[in-house]
């Protein structure tokens, strides 16, 4: 299992007919078992990149090659739940028949058990985002794509969801790509941090983290963060 991203460029045509370059050239490959974190300023095109990788946007120059029968689980920036289905039905709809114990365990892990039979309209945004994560994990995807999964959650909850994602990513043969604005999350979760520039996005640099996720101690994490932060400040400012 391997994902090769070779993008030569991506542009949108605005309402005024003007072309906006969103992505410039970028190449990277991810192997099974890897967690890549895309890190970059708001509006730099990270979500566009994720959509291309997910196969939702065929209108770009270049190629993204992934296995044909790849199973994808995705958490969008918004929850994108079906408001007319209960939490449980939302999850069940996207998965092949899932056995009840596994589903219950998943709901329990994300603290959703008591909301199983609620409709999305009755949930807070934080809850709805957790349901979206549960849905993406329930399909046991080969490729998990997460667009800021931990945004707008309180620390304790973000920590729990991070653990859940880490637990998922620990299983070999899976690739996880996530977008984050939070360096702490990125360092705790990622095997490889990909730093993107402002629009049109290109790769500024790639930082691999050699220490396995479960072996990263707090001091280790702090050290990696400090190491990363230093060169960021040294980057030449765009004129």
């Amino acid at each position: 299992m391997r994902l090769d991203v070779d993008i030569l460029g991506k542009a949108f045509e605005g309402a005024s007919g003007k072309r906006h370059e969103v992505l410039s050239e970028m190449h990277f490959s991810l192997a099974a078992g890897e967690v890549a974190v895309l890190f970059g300023p708001s509006g730099c095109g990270k979500s566009t990149l994720l959509r291309i990788i997910a196969g939702l946007d065929p209108d770009f120059e270049g190629t993204v090659s992934r296995p044909a029968d790849l199973r994808i689980g995705m958490v969008f920036q918004e929850p994108r739940l079906l408001p007319w289905r209960t939490v449980e039905d939302n999850v069940r709809l996207v998965t092949p028949p899932i056995d009840d114990t596994r589903l219950s365990a998943l709901f329990a892990a994300l603290d959703l058990s008591e909301h199983r039979h609620h409709f999305p309209g009755e949930l807070s945004l934080g809850l709805a985002r957790r349901v979206a994560l549960a849905r993406a994990l329930a399909v046991e995807p080969d490729l998990l794509i997460l667009d800021e999964p931990l945004a707008s959650l309180d620390d304790a909850l973000a920590g729990r969801m991070r653990d859940e994602i880490a637990g998922f990513a620990a299983q070999v043969s899976r690739i996880t790509i996530l977008v984050s604005h939070d360096l702490d999350d990125a360092v705790r979760l990622g095997d490889r941090l990909i730093f993107l520039s402002e629009r049109p996005a290109r790769i500024l640099r790639v930082v691999p983290i050699a220490t396995p996720r479960e072996a990263r101690s707090e001091t280790e994490i702090a050290r990696i963060k400090a190491e990363i932060a230093r060169p960021i400040n040294d980057w030449p400012q765009r004129a």
Binding site: G55, F76, R80, L82, R85
Partner: protein, 245 residues
């Protein structure tokens, strides 16, 4: 309670008006009731109501099925919309009477012509409503269905259809009231039975009690169907919406 009151007010004002207008123009409620009961006893009332209802059901089902399919297609596919749009505008603005008369001329005074004419009258409004509904479909949910590779039939049933249901309900609502009106005209012009035919006969004989007996029983049937079938259906559809306090 309030409904009962408004019904009583209606009956009372009818009665008073009847006393002023004289029984030839407006018979009193008991006179109309007597005719209705006589018709019911002979069985004619039920036969005519039944025949009319059967036509309504057939025409309504036909128009809804075709209308939903065409409306969805026109909402999704650009060229289908271009192709269908002029016809839609033509049909929307064509008077019901023209469609009915032409149907009878071309297809004869047959049941098929009557039902087709009624269906054609209702079709364009359904198409327009469903086209609007299809255009309003949430693209982000389509993307979700695509990413998770939900099989097409599944996605249509669970993702698309629930979004269209309010539009289908609206089309049923307005469509049914249109069909109720048009079915009588179609019967008046070219059918040997049904409520519309009886009203036509009553009109020619200036038999006002009979005319009212048929009109009011028909209105009662419409009312019962709307409240016992259509309204609960709409409530069930919107069950998932958080209710206002």
């Amino acid at each position: 309670m309030l409904r009962l009151l408004s019904f009583t007010v209606f009956l009372a004002s009818w009665w008073i008006a009847a006393l002023y207008a004289g029984s030839t123009k407006l018979p009193t409620p008991p006179a109309v009731l007597e005719v209705a009961l006589a018709e019911a006893r002979s069985g004619a009332l039920f036969v005519n109501l039944g025949v009319t209802l059967a036509r309504v059901v057939l025409a309504f089902t036909l128009a809804m099925t075709l209308g939903v399919a065409i409306g969805y297609l026109m909402g999704r596919v650009r060229w289908a919309n271009r192709l269908g749009d002029p016809w839609l505008i033509l049909l929307l603005n064509l008077p019901a009477l023209v469609v009915i008369v032409l149907a009878y001329i071309w297809a004869g005074l047959t049941e098929v012509a009557a039902i087709a004419a009624i269906a054609i009258n209702k079709l364009p409004a359904t198409v327009v409503t469903l086209r609007e509904g299809t255009r309003a479909l949430d693209a982000s949910l389509d993307e979700m269905a695509q990413v998770f590779a939900i099989p097409r039939r599944h996605a249509f049933r669970h993702v698309v259809l629930p979004q269209l249901l309010p539009y289908i309900a609206a089309a049923s609502r307005s469509g049914l009231s249109l069909v109720w009106k048009i079915v009588l005209v179609a019967e008046l012009l070219g059918r040997p039975n049904g409520v519309g035919f009886e009203i036509g006969v009553a009109f020619q004989l200036f038999d006002v009690p009979r005319l009212l007996a048929y009109s009011l029983t028909f209105a009662a049937v419409v009312l019962v169907i709307e409240t016992t079938m259509l309204q609960p259906f709409e409530t069930k559809l919107t069950r998932w919406r958080p209710r206002a306090a």
